[in-house]
């Protein structure tokens, strides 16, 4: 096994007695001594600081931003051309078969685009993007990426960067902390208001300390990041999104806007467009849904779901599941026949037992964005 990579905040984590685990080739904090549940609840009630420096930060440039946008639309069904400067969107990379190769955020930064991709997919995405004619792709490896999430994120970030309060959900900006340029977007992966902040690696630990200094923000590990995104009904690449999953099946058809669908002014032109476009028009046979286990046992990814407690064949499979700290009970997401309605009772198999679960709307908790 190759040596695990360290983020610029590695010493910050170990100094706070984080439990460090391997994740996508990086050594990352899964939790601090506070524990996953307390970190999760603190993020929903106040604010949590997450080190997401393992994610890939990519700068995409073309002869012009318009040219770069058009080139990116050859690999993603997102509307890149339609993105206004200093705004951000969610996008997918798709395969010829209509599967999802990665999901990512992209922001228009005036002269170029900033893409943030999954850590485990960074090398894959770099190779894919570098094969696209007309753009150059810079992998930014000298900057940290922090996520500050929760209802106190705004006032705590404003202590350091007053201009951050001017941003609304999915805005992105070049701001300053002292002499240094920081790239701030109002977005995140928890369902709460919050920010993602890219900054030079060397100043990241001091910046993180400054954010924590008022005792409002806690450092939060990847364990709570996962439970927060699960409650918010957000899909995770590798679990809910795979190269076997299409946008419609994943329940993220909105990531393929009308303009890129059949009949749209820039329809198709991305890998798998025929499959993806047809499935969005016809409706998928299966789609990602929420499940509320009736009992207290967590139901995790891979659990098969059955229509009855004695059915021979499963009708679906859990793609993400676990305990929901804000709700005090387990929740799960599963790919299931699209015709199922909210409230239908199904059975998930855990350790050979069929446990009743109810089909539930997503997200499991209300989201709080500043629009």
């Amino acid at each position: 096994m190759t040596e695990l990579l360290h983020t610029p905040l590695h010493a910050f984590h170990t100094a706070r007695q984080a439990k460090m685990v391997p994740f996508a080739g990086w050594e990352m904090p899964i939790q601090y001594p506070t524990g996953v549940i307390a970190e999760h609840l603190h993020t929903r009630e106040a604010a949590g600081l997450f080190d997401v420096s393992h994610m890939g930060q990519l700068l995409v440039r073309g002869d012009s931003p318009e040219a770069a946008a058009a080139a990116l639309e050859t690999v993603t069904p997102a509307s890149v051309v339609g993105l206004q400067p200093w705004r951000q969107r969610y996008g997918l990379l798709t395969s010829d078969a209509g599967g999802i190769l990665d999901d990512f955020m992209f922001a228009h930064h005036g002269t170029h685009f900033l893409l943030v991709v999954n850590a485990a997919r960074t090398e894959h995405d770099l190779a894919l993007l570098r094969a696209v004619p007309g753009i150059t792709v810079e992998h930014v490896t000298d900057r940290a990426l922090l996520a500050l999430q929760g209802p106190r994120a705004e006032d705590q970030l404003a202590r350091l960067i007053p201009g951050a309060t001017d941003l609304v959900f999915m805005d992105s900006a070049h701001l300053r902390w002292g002499a240094d340029e920081v790239w701030v977007s109002r977005s995140g992966y928890t369902g709460e208001d919050g920010f993602e902040i890219s900054l030079p690696a060397g100043i990241a630990p001091v910046f993180a300390d400054a954010l924590l200094s008022a005792q409002v923000v806690w450092p939060v590990g990847l364990g709570a990041r996962d439970s927060l995104r699960l409650e918010a009904g957000m899909p995770l690449y590798g679990n809910d999104l795979t190269d076997d999953t299409t946008p419609a099946r994943a329940g993220i058809g909105w990531a393929v806007p009308k303009v890129r669908r059949p009949g749209g002014s820039r329809a198709g032109g991305y890998p798998g467009a025929d499959v993806i476009g047809r499935e969005l028009a016809d409706g998928p046979t299966h789609v990602r849904m929420g499940l509320r286990p009736e009992g207290r046992a967590p139901i995790r990814e891979g659990a098969e779901v059955f229509a009855t407690d004695d059915a021979a064949h499963p009708i679906g499979v859990v793609t993400s599941g676990g305990f929901a700290p804000s709700l005090g009970h387990p929740v799960a997401m599963a790919t299931l026949p699209a015709e199922l309605t909210i409230g239908t009772t199904l059975y998930a198999e855990v350790r050979g037992k069929r446990l009743p679960v109810d089909v539930t709307a997503l997200p499991f908790v209300p989201v709080h964005y500043k629009r």
């Binding site: 046992a297 676990g322 305990f323 700290p325």
Partner: protein, 119 residues
Amino acid sequence: MIKYTQDHEWIAVTDDVATVGITQYAADELGDIVYIELPVAGQTVAKGEEIVVIESVKTASDITAPLDGEITAVNEAVATDPAMVNSDAMGAWFFRMTLANEGDVDDLLDEDAYQDLIS
């Protein structure tokens, strides 16, 4: 007398009755425990048999019968409030069992051996 297993269980032995839980080290490693499934009283168990399911926010694991015997009591309180295991693992017992062979206890780890294991 408190003994331990390689699987981070503690066993308090009085004559031929053993009270079993998990160590604080194990509870800390698991993280916040959210679900515990206990065996039933009267169940005959064999050493190594998986008889308790423990789920933390992060992972599912199980604990095994430390010795051959019969379950005589289970602590429903830990199933109702699994977090009590995190806050006081040595005080949160899971089940009591009678031992088929009292001599088997000698094969378990003593305090010093267990501390060596986790250090």
